[in-house]
Symmetry: C2
Subunit: 310 residues, 2 copies
């Protein structure tokens, strides 16, 4: 028996600062309707879907910063998305900036099942960029300033007939993110991202942005025997180019669906969750083959400790 | 200033059971001379270079098993390799089955520097395959029977003007192997392998053998900002086809050298160790971006623990 989950990866083009949440939600609904028309079970949107990627600016006024955050979910502005999903009977996952009642700020994503129930929440752990403004950069990347490190670990939930989890953007470059979910039997990982092509401290990496994106998604999928759905917010946002390369990756490590544009675009794939089984049962049978005692350095040490010179 | 290490990846074709160690060492020396003639600093050979890949057979007689092991290194049979390296002033790394004075069996590899000094030893940690014979298989993969799990962790040593480490074969599929060395600042990883194309419990993976080999080498290189030199023993050995796909991978994740044959073949690349710097200093600056507290499941748990069903 196969367990097919038809996934719609809803890449989104640029969202400018002047774009209202209502306008963004309207675009999201348009993609959701396409997904439903194609028989998708779930539609996956990018990181921080509702606004422009605001960590590119240094802002000191907390009220101004908080205009990019959501105090409730759904809110008045996002309720139409939730309502449309319920009407269509489709699940979805998307990212947003979360401001909690306690005043804490997280880069967050949700999984909502076909009944409209929020089955999973994740708060981004690997915050890239920097904390203090660096005026020499053409644009900032102040995620470490505007967000706290997520406090929910990487969860895995029963959803869409399988086990689903989430990562956000930079998490995907770290094999630890996949492995923590792999150790919970994850079968599909949703990962939204906002990835500027230009990395100011390492411009020599720019030509490889899409390659690096796909390399880590593919390796994470294969090494954990899981589907991985990577979804970009892309195009030129406020003068900053962000990569697309939305990719649906099988547990084989193969990319079986990918975007062609830098705009709103739906990528569809029929994902058989049972394809995960032969990887999880053979090469990556963790019970048989992992050696956790040998991995202690991974948790006991944060930075590099070089061997002493001879 | 660049720090170029010119690497010769010495892929080796099939070694049959009847082939003597002297014959194998002669082939290794031929490749070493090619490497020296091309100005290589180090020549890297595969896993268990000296004999056929014997874990494909179930043997019960320990004396017979031990014929595949080395009791000393160098031995009379391998001394010509060490001597030729000293004469040429070239470093090398190779794998062999090690039988210690205490009677312990390991799947081992060495790094020997240009002065002939053994600077590093590694004993394979991720032993694939099975412990008990499984007669339904066309051939066995009894590494878990014939070897103990390595007891030296993954070391990193000063060699060839940089920091070098080793993995062996199946280790390369596990991101933990790379990370333990990445946390020691590794700049080049040597990994030899014997990888049968056909994996009896998962024949649907066979068409992807080379892809999986290169995917994990590339991801491990990029995610740790290190060079990775993957070297296969390949061709048809005792009726069992093994993949080549010897690959030299840059810290960018790009394959910059690879083999074309299934035979003895030298692949050369000039590897600038300073290319590791921008990856280690930016995207993969572990001090800034790792979150070890969030990785605990990786060491606290061996197998999969699924969330409870709703």
């Amino acid at each position: 028996m196969s367990r097919i989950v038809t996934v719609g990866a809803a890449q989104m083009g640029a969202i400018q600062r002047a774009d209202s949440r209502a306008a963004v939600v309207k675009r999201m609904i348009e993609l959701m309707r396409q997904a439903a028309a194609h028989g998708c079970d779930v539609v996956v949107y990018p990181e921080l879907t509702l606004t422009t990627f605001f960590p590119r600016w240094f802002m000191e006024n907390q009220d101004e910063i908080d205009t990019f955050f959501e105090r409730e979910m759904p809110s008045n502005e996002t309720a139409p998305l939730f309502n449309e999903a319920a009407r269509l009977g489709i699940g979805f996952s998307f990212g947003y900036a979360e401001l909690t009642p306690e005043g804490r700020h997280f880069n967050t994503s949700l999984i909502v099942d076909k009944t409209g129930r929020q089955v999973g929440k994740y708060r981004k752990i690997h915050l890239p960029g920097h904390r203090e403004p660096e005026p020499w950069r053409a644009f900032q990347h102040l995620e470490k300033r505007y967000f706290e490190v997520g406090d929910l670990s990487w969860g895995v939930w029963n959803a869409f007939g399988g086990l689903a989890g989430m990562m956000i953007c930079n998490d995907r470059r770290w094999p630890e993110s996949y492995r923590v979910m792999g150790l919970q039997g994850v079968e599909m990982i949703f990962v939204g991202y906002n990835t500027p092509r230009h990395n100011p401290p390492a411009p020599d990496h720019d030509r490889l942005s899409e390659f690096h994106n796909q390399l880590v998604l593919q390796a994470g999928a294969y090494q954990n025997g899981t589907w991985v759905v990577g979804v970009g917010k892309c195009g030129v946002e406020e003068g900053c180019e962000m990569i697309g390369a939305t990719s649906i990756v099988a547990p084989t490590g193969e990319i079986i669906g990918q975007s062609l544009t830098q705009e709103d675009e739906l990528v569809i794939a029929r994902c058989d969750l049972d394809l995960t089984k032969s990887y999880k049962a053979t090469t990556f049978n963790f019970d048989l083959h992992r050696e956790p005692d040998q991995y202690r350095r991974i948790v006991e040490q944060k930075g590099v400790i070089r061997p002493s010179a001879d």
